[in-house]
């Protein structure tokens, strides 16, 4: 059988037509109600493979939808965060469920599904609009480095870029990209950025820029951990230096940011150990199910900061400080709950709403005193409790325990009467930060040992840096 050139060309043309026709077939579409088979938390906080509905994942083949735009291996360019548009690879099961066929696609789908639900949570707590965050800019496999090299096992919210960067995970637990609690924690940072940090202007931006360059959230080196809190008159005291108002307040605001974010992570995930699922050591320190410690005093914090001169160590310590607030707020949910349960969704949302409403007030406190006074660690308490619809007696008692002997009218919301035996005048004096700091600066530095802050009736107050990866 002989073939002419014309015959061959005709056959090629036919095949080419078939190829073009096949190429025009559409990829997967993310219609509302589409189900995806992904790794997802169960009601008790464990993670397993489940079918999860995502309503707004408009272009799954580009991992893009209404609430998040994902980039892979992003970099910083002229237009902010830039990177490759990811390719979403799915198979469709016989039941019509889309199954991510590679890990990048799996991560992107899980992150998007959490973002869709975090947007829902925002609306439930009254964060309307939210154009400051939605669609969230998220970088997968982000290459973020500090002086020690590329960061791993972390998630970073960058306030300047207004973007969430997820760096590679090399540990043996749940990848951070799949950890809903961690994603909620990072999402809260964008809320805090909007309501608090943005209003502080350059006072905060100076630090923010440093974080941006260094890549935030480092692990303290061993020598820092050893020298973290020494006793009075120790060798560390000789190395210690005075802490400025700016340094102290930056530490405080960062600690609040981290503590509130841990609370947000718990509210979203319902899992008090959500960090532990990905980062064992840090997760134990920040386990929200542990007993609540009394809030460290201003003096305790200053003492700790004097001995921790390196920014990395101070950064780690801020997480520990934040955990005090996170555990208090979890207990506050229980105290506000009619059923006295931390699982009471209505009480969880009530406290979350109060936190949202308290943020502008907290921002105002920092704005007025950021560079000129040592702001009290209790700065968030009154705005938070005052924003609750009604403060229960249990919440008032919880507040007493949390602030230890530092009871004052500046901390106490109107619904909480002063306990018997505490004169209002004495409380008011104690609340004056300027007087307390002034006495200390004049040589009255009679603070108790940071290791055992004896005035705390709940648990002795210590501030110990987190010893492993942070978020």
């Amino acid at each position: 059988m002989k073939h002419s050139l014309g015959s061959v060309l005709k056959r090629c043309l036919l095949v080419a037509s078939l190829i073009v026709a096949a190429s025009c077939s559409p990829g997967p579409k993310g219609k509302a109600g589409q189900q995806y088979q992904i790794i997802w938390p169960t009601a008790d906080g464990h993670y397993e493979i489940q079918k999860v509905q995502i309503d707004t994942f408009g272009d799954p083949s580009r991992l893009k939808g209404e609430f998040a735009s994902l980039l892979v291996e992003p970099r910083i360019g002229a237009a902010g965060l830039e990177g490759e548009r990811p390719v979403g690879r799915f198979i469709r099961s016989s039941g019509g469920v889309l199954v991510p066929a590679d890990f990048i696609t799996h991560q992107g789908t899980v992150v998007y599904a959490h973002m869709e639900r975090l947007h829902r949570l925002d609306r439930e707590v009254g964060i309307e609009g939210g154009s400051f965050v939605w669609p969230a800019k998220i970088g997968l496999r982000a290459n973020v480095a500090d002086a020690q090299g590329p960061l791993q096992n972390n998630a970073i919210y960058d306030g300047l870029l207004n973007a969430l960067l997820l760096v590679p995970y090399t540990d043996t637990g749940l990848p951070i990209t799949l950890n809903g609690g961690v994603l909620a924690h990072e999402h809260f940072h964008s809320i805090f950025q909007h309501y608090v940090l943005s209003s502080l202007g350059t006072q905060w931006h100076g630090l923010d820029a440093a974080i941006h360059v260094c890549g935030i959230d480092e692990t303290p080196s061993p020598e820092i951990q050893i020298t973290r809190i020494g006793g009075s008159g120790s060798r560390d005291d000789k190395l210690a230096r005075e802490v400025t108002e700016l340094e102290y307040n930056r530490f405080l605001i960062r600690g609040l940011n981290e503590g509130f974010a841990d609370f947000w992570g718990w509210i979203y995930s319902g899992d008090p150990k959500f960090i532990q699922r990905s980062l064992m050591a840090a997760g134990q320190v920040r386990d929200l199910s542990q007993d609540m410690d009394a809030l460290p005093s201003r003096e305790t914090i200053r003492s700790s900061l004097r001995r921790l001169t390196q920014p990395r160590a101070r950064s780690s310590l801020s997480y520990t400080f934040g955990s005090h607030y996170a555990r208090f707020m979890r207990r506050l949910v229980e105290a506000q709950s009619a059923s006295h349960s931390v699982h009471d969704r209505a009480a969880q949302l009530e406290v979350a709403r109060a936190l949202k409403d308290a943020l502008p007030v907290i921002a105002h406190s920092f704005k007025t005193g950021f560079g000129s006074e040592f702001i009290a660690p209790e700065v968030a308490l009154k705005p938070l409790l005052s924003a609750l619809q009604k403060v229960t007696p249990d919440s008032c008692a919880l507040l007493e325990s949390f602030v230890s002997s530092r009871v004052s009218s500046s901390i106490r919301p109107a619904d909480c009467p002063l306990p018997a035996g505490v004169p209002a005048e004495a409380s008011a004096v104690e609340a004056s930060g300027a007087e307390a700091i002034g006495a200390e600066a004049a040589g009255g530095d009679e603070e108790p040992s940071a290791d055992t802050f004896s005035s705390a009736p709940v648990t002795p107050v210590t501030l110990t840096p987190v010893e492993d990866g942070e978020l």
Binding site: I19, I91, V99, H106
Partner: protein, 183 residues
């Protein structure tokens, strides 16, 4: 599982037809490896897959007709999570032999059409779920050369473009190198 049985059945039928071929055609089989350039995660970077290639069919004087099966797998993950994907593709291929360069080296043009599907196994700790994707149509064009000898063995190398709505990029570029025998 049903689809795998279907593919095994088609393989069985193909072999049976090989054995029953008439005098006008020589049964042929080939085994080899390939190269498939796929996108994964990032649109501008291509990842290399190395599929196993199996062929069975008939060789006529002017063209070859055969069925080709290709399979490859990929695994990726972090922590105690992994995603394993396996591709199964089946193409009916016609290969038109062009005038030989010499008595051993024969260039050819080829075109084919067929089906493929992918299965995904997702693992988290001890839990593992495997899902088969739906069957999809695919088509291919190819060009290459075949080195033959008088004892009925040949080595063929082809470059190809394969298209399907499930491929990324679409079409996907690939190559195969196969050692064949004619009976």
């Amino acid at each position: 599982m049903i689809r795998r049985l279907l593919f095994l059945f088609i393989t069985f039928v193909s072999v049976a037809l090989l054995l029953a071929a008439d005098a006008f055609a020589q049964p042929m089989v080939a085994v080899g490896g390939g190269l498939v350039l796929e996108q994964e995660g990032r649109s501008k970077k291509l990842e290399t897959r190395v599929p196993l290639v199996l062929r069975g069919g008939w060789s006529f004087s002017e063209f070859d007709g055969f069925v080709e099966y290709q399979t490859f797998g990929t695994t990726d993950g972090e922590g105690y999570v992994s995603v394993h994907r396996r591709h199964h593709g089946w193409l009916g291929f016609a290969r038109l032999k062009l005038p030989p360069v010499n008595e051993k080296l024969i260039p050819f043009l080829g075109a084919g059409a067929g089906l493929h599907f992918e299965s995904v196994r997702t693992k988290i700790a001890a839990q593992s779920v495997e899902t088969d994707g739906s069957l999809r149509a695919s088509a291919a064009i190819a060009t290459g050369v075949m080195l033959t000898n008088a004892r009925g063995f040949d080595v063929s190398l082809d470059l190809r473009l394969v298209t399907s709505d499930g491929f990324q990029p679409n079409p996907t570029f690939g190559a195969t190198l196969a050692l064949g025998a004619r009976f």
